[in-house]
């Protein structure tokens, strides 16, 4: 037992204390959080816009067809663009998207973190869009009609009546998407970004000791996910209360 502990302490010192290697992990973690945070914001923004366009299209295109105004053609075109976006993003691996973003589309940029934020944001937006759209379609159409019959216009009905109900049904899935995104950013090392995963891997390369740095990286991800899951559960309970 004493010998095992001695080995453990030596390994620990080698991987984290010597040369202040723990700082690599910390810096990597910060990069991971920055990428995830801003990609989430971009993803949520894209997701809401695309979901509103798509569900507006699905709900109204039949009635708009009769009047064939400029709005009809505009909605048709925008909806088509959204559909192409969803198909492409969901139909290709995120690593490939990241590589294309880094080496082709934004090849002139030297800021890897920024490229990753944009690539992950665009990727996440597609999944968030479908989550929101499912949520909007799941709200009973009678709610929509009740709002309209009071005199609210389409957008007001969405804001005051549909979206608060949608948010509640969508929250668990949305949280899951955030967790997926957090873990997905671990491929950022592919384009030379020193995120949490890459930092652990760098330590392994320097110390030739794989166990400790990699387990440490795994633990950090796990802890973030668990804390986040706990917070969402609190929020969900809060939301459920408002219905009784």
């Amino acid at each position: 037992m004493g010998a095992w502990f001695k080995d453990f302490a030596a390994e620990f010192t080698l991987n984290f204390i010597n040369d202040d290697r723990w700082q690599w992990l910390l810096e990597g973690l910060i990069t991971t959080i920055i990428i995830t945070f801003f990609a989430t914001i971009i993803g949520a923004f894209i997701g809401i816009v695309v979901a509103i366009i798509r569900s507006t299209h699905d709900k109204n295109i039949d009635t708009m067809k009769k009047r064939k105004g400029i709005g009809y053609y505009f909605l048709k075109i925008v909806n088509f663009i959204c559909t192409v976006y969803l198909t492409v993003v969901r139909g290709t691996p995120v690593v490939v998207q990241l590589l294309i973003m880094y080496f082709v589309i934004m090849a002139s940029s030297t800021n890897g973190t920024l490229v990753a934020i944009i690539a992950f944001g665009i990727n996440s937006g597609a999944y968030v869009a479908e989550i929101f759209r499912g949520g909007i379609m799941a709200v009973d159409n009678g709610q929509f009609e009740a709002g309209r019959s009071l005199g609210f216009n389409y957008i007001q009905t969405m804001i005051y009546i549909v979206s608060p109900q949608m948010f509640k049904t969508v929250l668990p899935t949305l949280c899951n998407e955030f967790i997926v995104l957090l873990k997905e950013t671990s491929i950022a090392g592919y384009v030379g970004i020193q995120d949490l995963t890459k930092a652990g891997d760098l330590i392994r390369g320097r110390t030739f000791s794989a166990f400790m740095p990699l387990i440490a990286v795994a633990l950090v991800y796990l802890i973030i996910v668990m804390v986040f899951t706990y917070l969402v559960r609190l929020l969900e309970r809060r939301l459920r209360k408002s219905e009784h």
Partner: protein, 246 residues
């Protein structure tokens, strides 16, 4: 109770759902203060007709004039006119994420620009009338069906509508709760509100209606005062229908 002022005028109203010709030309007037009860076999188009009146369904053909405004014209802002047409649904459609009071004040505050205090005072007054003042801070899921429908009625009334549309308001209720909702509607009729009611409640039609309209296969098959309608039906289709339901 009714005067000669026409509130809603429909002219040759038609509605198709694809190949399905639901309304085949309905022309009628609804006058101020009138209670028009619409009955008919299921699938005859009576709910569709009602939902056309505030454009929840877009008519395929024909015209609807609301206080002389052609609301079917594409330049009309329907949201503005809908504020003046209250609607009550079969499934209540209360907003589940809001309290009763919030359900009732949302429209007046956001659309009529009433102050919150003013809207709440008005809402409480209306809740008092239907005997639900003590449920103001409840959520819809805590109410019985009859209570929900009474709230739905006063939610529509809170907007100060000029006409109230009822789409089978008692059809989703347990039998013992039908009475309390009909009672509210009767009192509303007595107060002079213009009402268009799609229902299967023949007793209500007989007692409260100023006119009963029978729709069959997308057209008005009979349109008469309740006495005339029930004791002396003219069309064979109505005779057959009444013999089945009464």
């Amino acid at each position: 109770m009714s005067t000669n002022e026409v509130i809603i005028h429909t002219e040759n109203l038609e509605k198709n759902f694809g190949e399905n010709h639901v309304l085949r030309g309905i022309t009628t007037d609804i006058k101020k203060g009138e209670v028009v009860v619409i009955i008919g076999p299921s699938g005859c188009g009576k709910s569709t007709f009602l939902r056309c009146l505030n454009l929840l369904e877009l008519p395929s053909n024909g015209k609807i004039l609301f206080k002389d405004w052609d609301i079917t014209s594409s330049s009309t802002n329907i949201n503005f006119h809908r504020q003046k047409m209250g609607m009550v649904f079969q499934q209540f459609n209360l907003f589940p994420h809001m309290t009763v009071l919030k359900n009732m004040t949302l429209g007046p505050v956001k659309l009529l620009k009433m102050s919150k205090a003013e809207a709440e005072a008005k809402a409480m007054e209306l809740l008092e009338v239907v005997g639900l003042a003590d449920r103001a801070n409840s959520y819809p899921s805590q109410l019985s069906g009859g209570q929900k429908q009474r709230v739905a009625i006063v939610r529509a009334l809170a907007m100060n509508p000029e006409v109230m549309l009822f789409d089978e308001p008692t059809s989703a209720l347990d039998p013992e709760m039908v009475g309390e909702v009909l009672e509210v509607m009767k009192n509303l009729a007595k107060s002079g509100m213009t009402m268009v009611v799609v229902t299967h409640e023949m007793g209500f039609a007989r007692e409260v209606a100023s006119r009963v309209v029978f729709i069959d296969e997308g057209v008005i098959a009979e349109d008469a005062s309740p006495e005339e309608f029930f004791s002396n039906p003219k069309s064979p289709r109505l005779k057959e229908f009444l013999s089945k339901v009464i």
